[in-house]
Amino acid sequence: MVAFNVLVAVALAYVAFLFAVAFFAERRAAQGLGGWLYSPIVYTLSLSIYCTAWTFYGAVGYAARSGLEYVTIYLGPTLVMVGWWWVLRRLVRIGRTQRITSIADLISSRFGKSTSLGVIVTLMAVVAGTPYIALQLQSVTLSFSVFAEAGGRPWGPNELAGGARWVAVGLAIFTVLFGTRNLDANERHHGIVMAIAVEAVVKLLALIAVGVFVVWGIAGGPTQILAQIDASPIARWEQNGARWFSLIFLSAAAFICLPRMFQVLVVENVDERHLNIAGWAFPAYLMLMSLFVVPIAVVGLRLLPAGANPDLFVLTVPLSQGQNGLAMLSFLGGFSSATSMVIVATIALATMVSNHIVVPMWLTTRSGGEAKMSGDVRYVILLSRRLSIAGVLLLGYLYYRVSGGGTALAAIGLVSFTGAVQVLPALIGGIFWRGSTRVGAAMGLITGFVVWSWTLFLPSFGNGAVITEAVATLGPFGINWLRPDALFGIDGMDPLVHGIMWSMLLNAAMFFAGSVFSFPTPLERLQGAQFVNVFDYSTGSQPWRTSAASAEDLLIMFQRIIGGTEAQAFFQRAASKQGKVGYLPDVTSEFLENLERELAGSVGAATAHAMIGQLTDGSGLSVEDLIAVADEAAQILEYSNQLEAKSAEQDRTARALQDANEQLTALSVQKDAFLSQISHELRTPMTSIRSFSEILRDSDMTAAEQGKYAGIIHDETLRLTRLLDDLLDLSVLANGEVVLQDQTGSLSALIERAVSVAGHGVKLTIKRTRVGEDVVLRTDLDRLVQVFINLIANAHKYCDAQKPALRIEVSHSDAAYRIDFIDNGSGIRAENQKIIFEKFARISDEGKAGGAGLGLAICREIMTRLGGQITYLPGQGGAAFRVVLPMTAILANQ
């Protein structure tokens, strides 16, 4: 037999050892030497707080009562862990980017940093968590009492209560010491995590040791134990499918939603890659924890008297065999399970209570700008944490006392799980569905909580304890379909399955409906996008408006929470990042965003948001801000469009300039050619005039000769005059200086006149179609006839046919009147057709024609002035020119 005092001494020594481990780990971490603290093994072991005393002792009891069903409690977390790629990876990433401090913080932060949601989740977590803490106190106390009884001095109720009280006080001290040592920016507790990892090893070793002893020491090997299992009363495989799946679902969901599990899974996670290892290592841990449960239960049922409490088989089986050392180890395992769970659960709950209830209340009582000036916030927060820890443990202890610590408490485990799981719809919806809103989340949470309380929690106090017998059987106010074990009149379900199903179903339905029919605030939508798309953009964009808050005020506030050195270091870093020296950076929206996130790591998103909001005149996010942001984006877009348009325009301008340049170059070439041409044209008659005038001056000659030379000079002068006239004419026309006269006359008469001027006495046959010529023109007839004369003269000069003939044809379309001059010569070759209207363009040898090549150029200028045009008409069997008159020039058909 173990002396009770020895047991107490061992327990105290163990606690001292844990203190030392925690202290050592804290110191290493503070010195920056704790590399091994961040290993995936420690992370995996810290997850083992899932295996509480309820599982350490209770699983065997569970197996003794209902056979294999106990594995569901471990299978659910196994499925979540092996499927870490689905939910856990996302949760951990969100937790890291948003500096999440608790599950209430996650929900509150996701739904627009809502304080009220944080309060709801916190209250639910406290209500659901308190019985569980009470359960741990009970199991530790019971395990003590087992040894006391074995020592021959059974404990009465007073001793039990006293034991529980001392355990609670001890746990409170440990938790306050290591849980609130510092108000770290990332809310991690290296000392506690390390202590938990050690405890995880102890409880695994203890359970395996007991299992090995039972299988090989008592039963005599694996084959025998399997035979004994089949022979035992729990041998039948009679698993109810609904219960099997409900429990797997429940434990899987609780694994994510329990505040303490969230704390170790997400908040204490230092590296996302640890999930990768824990994804298989933690299921292996769970598998080993549950491997020997059934053998221990079967052997316990066989060996111990019928009335023995199966929940304590892990202790009583070794004790009954006289294995005191093993019993001691087993006791330490159970003690570890209970304490590690209580410590983490207390920290998680205290963080939530402090961040979501106490600090917001404290902030409201000192509203306005006082937050930055009065009181030490850091001290207030730490104090509120410590008081919360003590308060949570006190609640657990009171629950233990009130409930009487009997079997009623043992049943509370799964009920407590179901309460914690009510967060699931809001949690999963929040991280996967952008459309979920605060209203929906609140409705779902409250609905789930109410249904859970009514169907599971209140009945768990026992028949007639809270819900009277009459209400339980007839329903409240005699409303039959509201009976706690048969909602909507559906009878005969397992009460637990009934409670899980209805609470989750109604919770999820209200969450969905509330989300679909409500409208989220801008901040909610922003947070929703960041949570759901956490893998797309890992930096937040919290558009704090640059505001009136001075950097100094912010520094004062920040110092009060984080502590002077850390706060100054943070501000200095921010300042140097902005290229400034000193401690006061510019208050940009980016800086505010970083500051808020840093604060959120200590006091939660909602409180951090509110604190910054107070200092920045509450200028948080408004619809106007969002619109302004959108406008800015639109403006940038607009600007870029404008730039693009401008660039396109510049391209066009450049091309136009290039064209113009080419034209100018061509014109310059033309001008040069024109000058050389004109000097040539002027020089030829001038040369003859000079030569013949010299002859006249210098030599004696007959009158006939004189007359002849004077005639030549006169001809050349005329030619010169004509050339100059033409040039003048052309220049006047080209410069638009010509004044057109408004004259009226018939086309027929006009052609007559032209023919008579240009064609008289020549061998050119002129054919006319007089029908079309019967039209009255109103234009500058003198100019028009000049064109006709020119064309007829050209035909006369250049037509190389044997019997030259010129057809003059008149036709008209809707828009224009056309007069074609077509001769029967060989025409103009295609390559020359383009240049014939240019100045000095002559295609045959010049001597024959005797013109300067200005005629057609003048014709073109005239026709342009008259609003018509003159073109060369190819393909008519000879040279053909078309004169086009605009319809405006036609007065009337005769």
């Binding site: 056979g67 294999l68 594995v71 299978l75 196994t78 499925l79 979540v80 862990m81 092996v82 499927g83 870490w84 790629w85 689905w86 990876r89 399997l226 035979a227 299992i229 089949d230 729990i234 041998a235 039948r236 495989w237 009679e238 698993q239 499918g241 099997w244 799946f245 797997i248 996302e272 890659r273 999930l275 990768n276 290892i277 994804g279 298989w280 299921p283 292996a284 598998m287 491997l291 059934v294 893998f535 797309d536 877009l637 469009n641």
Partner: protein, 86 residues
């Protein structure tokens, strides 16, 4: 014009393709687990616990081994996570 997100490529390198399928497998593990753990429910009531125990623990170990094998395959790209590579 709003610059639209680059279109996911229809064809990726063999290594990338294999990694993505490994992620699919990682997602499938819990589904496989649920299916395998549902099978005992189909057994007749005459079945004995020892058989169920052996079955469930064998499934459990298989799931752990599968998860461990996959974790090695996807471990290279957890840190350098590319969001679009789904």
């Amino acid at each position: 014009m709003i610059p639209s997100a680059p279109k996911p490529a229809a064809f990726v390198a063999k290594g990338t393709y294999r990694r993505r399928r490994m992620r699919d497998l990682a997602r499938a593990v819990p589904v496989i687990g649920v299916v395998l753990l549902a099978i005992p429910l189909l057994w007749s009531d005459a079945a004995l616990n020892s058989g169920a125990i052996v079955y469930i623990f064998v499934v459990w170990v298989l799931l752990i081994l599968l998860a461990a094998a996959i974790s090695r395959a996807v471990s290279t790209d957890v840190a350098t996570d590319t969001p679009k590579a789904r």
